[in-house]
Amino acid sequence: MNPIIGIAVKDIKTFFREKETVFWTIAFPVIILLLFTAIFGREVPFTANIGIVDSDNMPLTSNIISAFNNTEIFNVEIFNNKTEALKALNATDVRAVITLPQNFSLNLTTGKNTYALLAIDKTDPEVTHTVANTIKTLFSEFYKEIGNYTEPISVIEETSLMREEIGYREHIVPGMLCYPFLFSSMVAATGAIVYEKHKGTLKKIRASPVRPLHVLFGKTLAALFQTAISILIIAVLAVLVLTPKVNWNVPLMIPIMFLGSMNGIAVGLLISCIGRSPQAASSAATTIGVVLQFFIGMYFPQEFLPTYIQQIGNVIPMTYAVQAIRSIMLQNAVLNDILQPIATLVISAIILYVMGILLYKRWVEKE
């Protein structure tokens, strides 16, 4: 048998024989998933006041205004001019102001491009997100009915449309699918070297002709397998219990999952090589995992989080895995839409993994 496979098989068997570890590996994400869905998953009626400035004043624009009124989400207030509307926005009387310019209807009906201006109060990120996306969805519906239409110019950076029936369970499922990057990949990899080092079994491995790199590959393979099992269990549970309305683009999700895992494993290997005892390394990995889960947007979309947390999250590679998975599952993103997070994940995985290899080799050579 190949030594890499041999090491992986041994680690996987050992993992599955530690019944308590297996139980908690499965139970913990399940508890979190159900708990967060129970707390945040209630359907809370949401309404917001918005202002509309109809500079076109045509039947079509009247229809749009009626459509906004009929959503039961918005209480629409009509303003005669934009200045007045923006004053109301500043006074927080309305959450957003939509300006429909002159010739809006003419352009739409004659197949030309047009636009709608959107000014929005960004004080509350959650409300901002919901209002902006609902407005975009409504325009998008018009686009589908009428034809040639250009997205309204938005003051918010986000340009993609949200699905209509999106709820907390749809948000948390992609996040929880990324949970094993931290608590399976990272924790398993953390135990990988330090446990063998502590027990002395690493001596036996090192006394054999196996290359250090093969040892790490074997450990990585075992951690990947454990991660895959965790993801599978969470996915099955999500489908059976939460029934989220999400897009399961599995072929596109697998590479992201792999890259997310590799990042987690690489961090775990680094902790493992530094760790002086299994207890110390395990505590470090758990602490890092618990902290990171909030920064990477696992439980809430990143845009819902305070700006400073978003900024910290932006330098953590696993954030991009969560973003990519959420984009695929909630926004039907295709490969082209997630090239940037993929590139970030690839680069960070390579850098972190190479650092892990060098640290391990340095430790071996130091003996």
């Binding site: 041994k10 054999s208 002709p209």
Partner: protein
Amino acid sequence: MTEKTVIEVEGLVKHYGEVTALDGVSFSVKEGEILGLLGPNGAGKTTLMEILCCLRRFDQGNATVLGFDLIKDSRKVRSSIGFCPQETLLYDLLSVRENFAFAASLYSLDSKKFKERIEFSSKFLGVGEFLNRKVKELSGGMKRRANLAVSIVHDPPVVILDEPTVGFDPNVKREFWELIQDLKNYEKTVLISTHDMFEADELCDRVAIMDKGKIVALDKPDILKETLGGENSIRIKTKEAPRKAVSLLKEYKCMMRDDEIQVFVKNPWRIVPEVSNKLISHGVLTEKIEVVEPTLEDVFIKLTGRRLTEE
């Protein structure tokens, strides 16, 4: 026994910071030989063995195993050695067979060779009876046997055993010695470390006595005892009149030590009947007459001024 040199060590030096663990160690081991490294804890035995297994680097000197250089050909060296450290390095949650399979994978053994080795270990080391049991369910003796079997799963020509019988009760220890001696029948060259002088005496073809990172003597146990262990003696304890006994034995070199008489002679076994008869014929009754031969402990004391068991 052939004269082929299997392990060759020349002027090996190893420092741990300020501490000199090995100070110019040189020796060689011939094919099929059992060489013992005898010394107290901290003498440098484990460091030396770990260097030979390529687990540690050294600062100066040269060493080869089967002609392979420890640094340049470390993978070949590691393939040639079966290393059995002091601790039982098995995975408790796996069965003995699974531990075998894991060790076999480290040496890329194919399934045919693996089966052969399992059969060999079952027969030779008696692991067959507990092959499918988890390691955590085994007794200490079974674990040690399994540990040795797993260490030589790849059928290495050189076996390095670091204090393999520490903590064994005398019966298990003797059983283990027999196993190690049997390795010679399979043409294995064995390097074994111990701080048990009886183990070294019983088991090894030659013994290297180590102290403070140096080899202070290296030879066959009998020669070491003969040349460095001091004289043989007969110890006599009389029921009464020890002074009378001493005067009766004045033709021999003898002295009183505590309440015993010690008679120093070259061939004590030949003299014992004569001494016994002389004492009885003069009405001196004896409680005990025993022959005391020098041990490797005596050799160690002579060389270092300390006992082997002193820390």
